[in-house]
């Protein structure tokens, strides 16, 4: 690819990343207590819409980000897996609350010890439940990740890592 073409595609890619990260259509898979904080985050006090993630889609096929909110039980786990499979690429998963991260303090016969045992997770937001501020922070981290995914590859080839300045005690090249 010639220089100009690479420039255009990498700028385009960046633009896609930018557009994607500010138009997150989330699927809130709300099961338990964390749902209350999810509601609080989505409503006027904390207003998740400021970050371009204001529209929950209640269909996995229309969603980009799966918010797994609340404890996933052994009975619910296959359902979650199926919903994840139904989502179209590109897709990301946010594990919201400590139960979805690790199982929390429900270490028993009925609960799943973290959703990452069945589906891949992009961002973990711990807390039982996480305060809305944590959730917003987690969302920003996800946005950074979405943007970075679109800057990888070509972008990193174009902008090589800066040369390390060698100190006298380091092995010289």
């Amino acid at each position: 690819m010639s220089g100009d073409a690479a420039f255009v595609t990498s700028r385009l890619d960046e633009a896609i990343g930018w557009a994607r990260k500010y138009s997150i259509f989330q699927y809130p898979f709300v099961t338990a207590c964390c749902g209350m904080e999810y509601m609080a985050t989505a409503c006027s006090h904390y207003d998740i819409d400021r970050f371009g993630a204001g529209l929950p889609r209640f269909s996995p096929r229309q969603a980009d980000v799966l918010f797994v909110v609340g404890t996933i039980s052994q009975k619910m786990a296959p359902v979650l897996k199926r919903i994840y499979d139904q989502m179209a690429e590109p897709k990301w998963v946010v594990s919201f609350g400590v139960c979805t991260c690790t199982g929390g303090f429900y270490d028993n016969y009925a609960t799943l010890m973290g959703i990452d045992t069945i589906i891949p997770v992009d961002v973990y937001i711990p807390g039982c439940p996480p305060r809305p501020e944590y959730v917003l922070d987690g969302l920003l981290k996800l946005q950074a990740k979405i943007q970075a995914q679109h800057e990888s590859g070509r972008r990193s080839a174009r902008e090589p890592r800066p040369e390390l300045e060698l100190e006298p005690w380091m092995p010289q090249r």
């Binding site: 052994q74 296959p78 028993n108 016969y109």
Partner: protein
């Protein structure tokens, strides 16, 4: 009716079935044999003296390890076992679990017109853990009995739809039994393949 009067009235009426009673902390409790459960429940519901129109709760207790908890030890490595002196003293102590039976099924009744509560306990042996269903008297007993079946494996005769309610059908065992380890997990099972579950 206060607790003592309630116990007395029932003991007189069901002299052959009542195996014990107490009013620990003011909760009127009678223990009856399972054969007369339906009679008793019917009387409680319809008799003008009792009018127990609410079946508030229905559950079970597994007494198999009652009082056999491990002794707490200071500094376990030293081997010194210390059993701390229990508890707060009791003026009218609880008479203990009803008999040697493994399970009891516990019913909590409440009468809205007369504002009294009653607990009825039915002891059940493990080998023959089965008793009559009270779904014919209270519609709410349906799910409660299913839950007891699910969690304890106690069967209810005459229940139309006795299947698991909280766990999935393929789950093996009954988790609230004391011999079911608290964190014993079982493999994940896909939901059943009936027509309605296919959303693909």
């Amino acid at each position: 009716m206060d607790a003592a009067a309630l116990i007395q009235a029932l003991t007189e009426r069901f002299a052959d079935a009542v195996r014990g009673s107490h009013a620990y902390r003011g909760d009127a409790t009678i223990v009856i044999s399972r054969e007369r459960l339906l009679d008793l429940a019917g009387t409680l519901k319809d008799d003008a003296a009792f009018q127990m129109n609410f079946l508030m709760d229905l559950t079970a207790v597994d007494f198999s390890v009652f009082g056999k908890g491990p002794s707490p030890a200071f500094f376990a490595s030293s081997g010194v076992v210390v059993r701390p002196s229990a508890e707060l003293p009791d003026e009218h102590p609880w008479p203990g679990p009803p008999g040697p039976a493994r399970f009891i099924v516990v019913y909590h009744f409440f009468s809205l017109p007369l504002k009294h509560r009653l607990r009825v306990e039915v002891p059940l042996e493990e080998a023959d853990a089965e008793l009559d269903s009270v779904t014919s008297l209270w519609a709410g007993a349906d799910w409660l009995e299913r839950e007891v079946w699910d969690m304890f494996g106690i069967r209810f005769r005459g229940h139309a739809n006795l299947k698991r309610i909280l766990m999935y059908e393929q789950f093996v065992g009954h988790p609230l039994r004391k011999d079911y380890p608290v964190n014993k997990r079982q493999p994940l099972i896909e939901p059943d393949g009936d027509a309605s579950s296919h959303s693909r």
